[in-house]
Point group: C2
Chain length 512, copies 2
Amino acid sequence: MDRLGANPANSCPLTPLGFLERTATVFGDCPSVVYHDTVYTWSQTHRRCLRLASALVSLGVSRGDIVSVLLPNVPAMYEMHFGVPMSGAVFNTINTRLDARTVAVLLRHAGSKLIFADPASLPLVRDALRQLPPGHRAPRVVPVEDPQEKEFPAAPPGTLTYEALLDGGDPEFAWVRPRSEWDPMILNYTSGTTSAPKGVVHCHRGIFLVTVDTLVEWAVPKQPTYLWTLPMFHANGWCFPWGMAAVGGTNVCLRRVDAAEVYATIARRGVDHLCGAPVVLNMLANAPDAARRPLQGKVRILTAGAPPPAAVLHRTESIGFEARQGVRTPGMAEVDIVDGETGRSVPRDGSTMGEIVLRGGCVMLGYLNDDSATRAAIRDNGWFYTGDVGVMHPDGGGENISSVEVESVLYNHPAVNEAAVVARPDEFWGETPCAFVSLKEGSGSGAPGAVTAADVIAWCRERMPHYMVPKTVVLRAELPKTSTGKIQKYVLRNLAKEMGPTHKGASSSSRM
Amino acid sequence: MDRLGANPANSCPLTPLGFLERTATVFGDCPSVVYHDTVYTWSQTHRRCLRLASALVSLGVSRGDIVSVLLPNVPAMYEMHFGVPMSGAVFNTINTRLDARTVAVLLRHAGSKLIFADPASLPLVRDALRQLPPGHRAPRVVPVEDPQEKEFPAAPPGTLTYEALLDGGDPEFAWVRPRSEWDPMILNYTSGTTSAPKGVVHCHRGIFLVTVDTLVEWAVPKQPTYLWTLPMFHANGWCFPWGMAAVGGTNVCLRRVDAAEVYATIARRGVDHLCGAPVVLNMLANAPDAARRPLQGKVRILTAGAPPPAAVLHRTESIGFEARQGVRTPGMAEVDIVDGETGRSVPRDGSTMGEIVLRGGCVMLGYLNDDSATRAAIRDNGWFYTGDVGVMHPDGGGENISSVEVESVLYNHPAVNEAAVVARPDEFWGETPCAFVSLKEGSGSGAPGAVTAADVIAWCRERMPHYMVPKTVVLRAELPKTSTGKIQKYVLRNLAKEMGPTHKGASSSSRM
């Protein structure tokens, strides 16, 4: 028994890139990527990705170089999820809604060698490049055509565009395989919800595991017709670019997500799956009648990130969508809740709060060029520290009390517009939940029957265990947000800290 | 970038055993295992498995020891798929239909330290133990009770039975985690279809990957109600014991698989999934009316191993079953077809035959105590040699011509009872397909309009590409079979070799 171990036939690196090769064989003539009237097959997509990889190598891109992209959900964006790492490069998607200053910060930090950009993002990219410090070697910019959009000016003759690059590529290219499954494959910048952007690096093994995990978690069937409503630049579209290749699905691309276009595309293409944050459910549920089309078949919406408010969920389902909320990682991760100081597990009493920690194949390699942040997040005790607060129940089930549960109850309050819960220092508990809330118009201060912070606390007391009820509720006109509309919890956390510690057993409320 | 790599938070070993912990938390109060009137919850199953693991350690079982079991699909068999490897031991299921001599050969080869046995298998086990050579340290036998079966005699007072063992175990046991994901976890003996039994050893990582792969391939939903028709002792029930824990399903156990009991259990328990070789489909399709019950909902049958004949498939579906055939591994394996002598890929011409080779995380560690067989199967060029013959098509799709396609066409012939295709040496091709066929009563030699080998070849010519048509057809009264009813292809391969090589382009037929 001791003589048996990893061998040459079973130890080849785990990577999601292999899904493309297999699907090109098994589903070669089936549609892979659809955009307006363009329909690619899996065989074509496979060859286009190999062309891309070979062309990048010809341009001098080599193993470990970073290739950045600013693109909406168009076919090229899909292809790059394979073609870029198949050149050996690390693939870095950048949110197209960022400002030029932030894009410049990211490009400088990443040291990107090449940028693919949508016509709509070219001005942003050029602006960002002008803000790079003198002496910084500017990345090459390759524009990606979109002949479907007539208002975009054509690239000047002689420009090396995406399609020109592919024309010069080799569709039989022997792609650059990872030397180890721990080789970096993806670089994603955090959106600045909790702190300044950091470059999260994932390896081939990690992306493989998250992709497979996502397919299992949502029981994605063979050959679904999948609508791209979730931006691929956001956490790589929850790994669905690779997932769709694994199950041989059809990727229906969409440049702009508005309700009328989503309903029309579902009808035209027979879409049966889509992903979206709760905001997408909200858009579909509240679309005007003129924008709606009756659903011909069942359409499953896979949602995650934040829990959709129950009212939105019910309304979406009444239209005929079937919404499923993901609870990540059936088996790739362990979770614990530990005392931030000692690193020891908190008691399984459902009330002692601590920091939620994770381990498993889905955990990042670390932060790019930020050893101290990496060391703070990934500790020698084998855990990744999430920065979220939770409690552990007697049955071993951990609960994130900082956001998911409490915010969901707050959103159900008829007068609540937005809600975010963060930890506030507490003399006894270490931390207690602190809610920041904005109210709907006509519900706030001065209105008849105006809702108070105490009313919100009372609402929570009736609907959740005592330990989860926010000890502090702060009413604000608006909550601070990032460029992508996410609430900036780190700003709120700082505010909560500045308020000073709460005292044992006390609830408090304030208005800012 | 170079400073980032595997770290303490993401490099914990992949193992399917973790599925149980997570499911006990997420689905703790949901049914896990059902048998007659016994219903366990996931929380209970988790604790029973930990008790088992701790009790085994207390008995002196240690890391790498082999624990064998002879059990039908009862709850204890399910629990052992977790509890045995959670003790650090390697889990070895033995086919309960083998004869005592073969069981003795396996126990001796494995050096099993302990055997769990069903009351129905105890006489077989005792018989096998008597056949162990003098001086061989006999394994301890632990009988597994089945109070549901009244005809089984109770174990003598004081016997250490399975339940007594669990009673002494610790439900909070810190289970013995693998030190590496390459640690051995499973030992399965080949059934002797192609050669004498060999001990196939799989590691935690391999079983994890195959399990996840199976769930993706069949798009198994959350919390299915799964009927155990496939024996867990057969290839660990295609990894569904671990798969059901990953998705929080209900395992409906069944000691005996007969049509009436399967139909009754589907109705009683609301079964919606089951696995089975084509023989199970056949049994359900041809059940007498008295044994049948109408299906209340959709029941998916996941089938693999051999392709079910089209007629059986259609009949099963007409009853209301939805049968899906698996085509293993969406992404864990690469396939090639190589020249057996040179190891080079055969031309992608759809006609040059070679040996099918695989690589990927699903490939075994090797054969237990059989270095030469391991070296013959797993070569330094990084491939696992399957022993099957195939061709590679121009699109990169390999095709196994030795069995799947050709046998399926043969089974469709109205006079064919059984068919098996093996490779026969050929002066030009290296190998050509050779079919052994038995005919239905009244179709063979002497009958009016008797079917000849030439008729069978003509039938194939009309229905498959030329290169796939058997060059040799041998009619026999019966085909040689193993104790489990599988056709012994190695016997047929030897017969084909003894016939000597075929000649270029020639077809031949013979009668034996």
